[in-house]
Symmetry: C2
Subunit: 583 residues, 2 copies
Amino acid sequence: MPVYKAPIEDFAFLFNHVLKIQDHKHLKGFDELTPDLLEAVLEGAGKLVEEEFFPLNRHGDEEGCRLEDNHVYVPSGFAEAYGKYCEGGWASLTADECDGGQALPHMIGGAVMEMLSSANFSLSLFPLLSHSAYMALKAHASEDIRNAYLPKMASGQWTGTMHLTEPHAGTDLALLRTKAKPLDDGSYAIEGTKIFITCGEHELAENIIHLVLARLPDAPEGVRGISLFVVPKFMVNEDGSLGDRNQVFCASLEKKMGIHGSPTCVMNLDGAKGFLVGAPHQGLKSMFTMMNAARLFVGIQGLSQAEVAYQNAHAYACDRLQGRGPRGAVDEHSAADPIIVHPDVRRMLLTQKSQIEGGRALALFALMQMDLAHAADNQEEREEADDLTAFLTPVVKAHLSDIGSEGANLAVQCFGGHGFVREWGVEQFVRDTRICQIYEGTNGVQAMDLVGRKMNLHDGRLPRRFFDKITQSLTKMEAGPAEEFVAPLHAGVTKLQDALAQLATMDLADRGAAAYPAMQAVGTLSIAWMWAEMAHASTNTNMAKIPTARFYFQQILPKLDYLCQIIGHGGQVIETHPIGHVA
Amino acid sequence: MPVYKAPIEDFAFLFNHVLKIQDHKHLKGFDELTPDLLEAVLEGAGKLVEEEFFPLNRHGDEEGCRLEDNHVYVPSGFAEAYGKYCEGGWASLTADECDGGQALPHMIGGAVMEMLSSANFSLSLFPLLSHSAYMALKAHASEDIRNAYLPKMASGQWTGTMHLTEPHAGTDLALLRTKAKPLDDGSYAIEGTKIFITCGEHELAENIIHLVLARLPDAPEGVRGISLFVVPKFMVNEDGSLGDRNQVFCASLEKKMGIHGSPTCVMNLDGAKGFLVGAPHQGLKSMFTMMNAARLFVGIQGLSQAEVAYQNAHAYACDRLQGRGPRGAVDEHSAADPIIVHPDVRRMLLTQKSQIEGGRALALFALMQMDLAHAADNQEEREEADDLTAFLTPVVKAHLSDIGSEGANLAVQCFGGHGFVREWGVEQFVRDTRICQIYEGTNGVQAMDLVGRKMNLHDGRLPRRFFDKITQSLTKMEAGPAEEFVAPLHAGVTKLQDALAQLATMDLADRGAAAYPAMQAVGTLSIAWMWAEMAHASTNTNMAKIPTARFYFQQILPKLDYLCQIIGHGGQVIETHPIGHVA
């Protein structure tokens, strides 16, 4: 049986000692977040996921979802667990107070989401998508729609979805064809087929609020002609009660590599009634408001699978007796030693641990910047925080989801043959986490977002903010307990700055070829920075962070040399290769 | 629907131009291998796998195996395809002539095995294990047993298995408990439970010949007390007809991440009748004779999944229209360009292609050395070939199976969301190939075999042979068509030699920590060497190898710097980390 224990001690350490949230307690959202409340939230979430979510995880994978007569049935037990999640007020954690929410910062939502997702990735997708839909409506919908939908979405009574992809239009949304025809009552009739719709249909909630991208009749071609609509599964009457079933149905469920407990739907909109959200033709922009938060959360999802996989690998490595340590028998009374004595097993476990804990710090740092971008005192601080969020979002999404797959696979490797069989439950983490590198924009798309867009915005202000922030850390750490990391981190900064300066002079073809290693390089250095910060912050706590920081600096950070080297090579060899079409 | 076309042109190029098998045509096994026969073998195998094996691959994954009343049923269609494989004489390709085989070199068997495995990994496991069992019996069994079993195993009429692992004894075979009690007739009664037995029970063949490791009553403890037994599913009468059902039964089938079409059995030996193979207590040695060949084949299996996954990713990338190239529209008449125009997609495809083709060259080179270790003219040449085989075996097993997983995952990534759903068939390659990093000794065990054993044998003679061989290549390539690769390959040799020299001074704990990066470093450099060789050999052919060689040297080989750097760090940080038990 797989194991999972919510890492609440690590979260508390990060919030209290690394991110130092108490320094911001005068800000909205941070103000109510006393150490006691933080502890209560983390412990409550931990208890919920350990007791209600995790026991259903393997079962959900085995049972899966099924479609019958337009109804989608999710694994048994999911509805009850989701009910407890809503009853406990977890759905409304970060929702606005005027919608009945608790208005806590998103970084707290991120910590809770990691735990939900580690415990049961499939089940956690229902609230995650709802949260994204809530945010998009909050930012762009009319007051009527906000009043009618948001309180029930905040409470979890209704869930939400995002309808973007069509069979021929995934990354390239310019190609999308779904049509919206204006009706006399000011609403629209939506016609089209959407695919890969996570939690598009189910019986967990009373209603499902679909956010749908479609084209108005007079829409210009391309991405400037896409509008956003809200399409409820059941129409909402003026008194808030549910009315007619809308013409939006699940046509089929995808069979997938993983996340079997989450229905991935092909959705037919057959003249479904919808309401415009935001201005006509501005739909993509509205959708992207929410996408940035969603992308940070996907990075956390990837991490969450590495975390639960690591916990199982570590437990197994302490338990499984096989062979002897490199210096002879560790336990002479036993016929063999636990495999954690083997250097290569330790190397695998520490690779997982160092990337997970460092990645967690980075994700929460990015989410905190997202919070500060709204809550900070003055425009200057808000702008800095917004820049850091924008710069780190593609890195957190892509690098942490890569770490998710790498970590889950290393966990399987620690189990040997027992990792490949389903009985121990670790192979599920590999299958489940794989999607994180793909959805919400593939990791290649994230890398292009970083080097094609974020690097150049405002004349390169975003990466400057990032390096400035590290430089501030370096100054702080000199002659402190993490001093040993100052020189290598500083060297890493110089190396990466040089590589990115080179990148900035390249044309789009070269930059495209160097994008992925550049994303990895920023991710690799960012996590080193977080390790230095954690090492520095750990000295007055009972967290033993320094040994793992040393591991990361010695074993993982040197990858930066390799990455910077290939960034410098650009793309000529790649572009001119006769592998297929070239410009 | 997934696609697969056997890469026979690449095999022919490797055999004829890189390995230059005609230079060895005076040797046994090579003598009959005329260019015409080689072409006929490659084309025949290609036709068999494309027409009979590949169409059953997805179906085998979906249907899987089931156990009912001691019978194991494999996916429908497998028996017919296996029948055609045997009828065509493919089972006996490398078997001895006295057993009715064709006595072709193992490198030819390796090429055929890659194709079988690309087309249908699960189905290919039946012959692979039979081949291993054949080799072990050939080398160690008594004449009676050889006469009674080998011709039918060579023809494929009977299949074979290897029974090593027990629930508590995987990597550490010293712990195994299965007992063999001598009977009056000179045979033994075998008692125990074995797990992870690939193709341990099925109805594809008339009989199954199990090779079982067990302990005699007077056996010393540990690995020096293990004997090898042959245990047939049906007893074999003196006239060759089948007799009683032996007491060896499948107790259950594992549910696995992949290779669903191959039954992975828990086997109960309940007083099963067995016959000693080789000397008492020497069983592990006998098993290892065969294990080296098996390990090379596992590397090829990993590669085979990357190959079929790559073919699908490449076809999809040429077909899927999404977005525009970095220099604007490539096809202005279409609403979007094929995704192969995107530099990051090309980077992924070339990463796959360069590692697959380079890995294939390396695997066939190693298999050719295995052939030459027996067939070469004189003792000196045989010793050299044997040294190279021994040195490269763990590298081919581990590095190529790592490449298998990396390649299959990159193929999924090229498909985006369509890679995660089962419909397109690429996620199966990820699930199937994952076992290659685990079985026949995990990749961590391979790395320890390389640095803990192979590096030090005969005072370091094996790595010296390896570097000498590369140096010979360098001399040959100077001022030739592959001259551009001479300097970087030479630099790589120096770097790796320095790192391995450092490794040689370390104690076992440090060496254990550095083993995996050392294995990767040897693998990375070996493939660069193969690319230089292929580039050199390609100039008078129609194979365009130079562009891919450039990609490998520019994008992949620089990883060597990183790997050598962490080899140098040894294991102190890893050993002293408070993650768990230490010595």
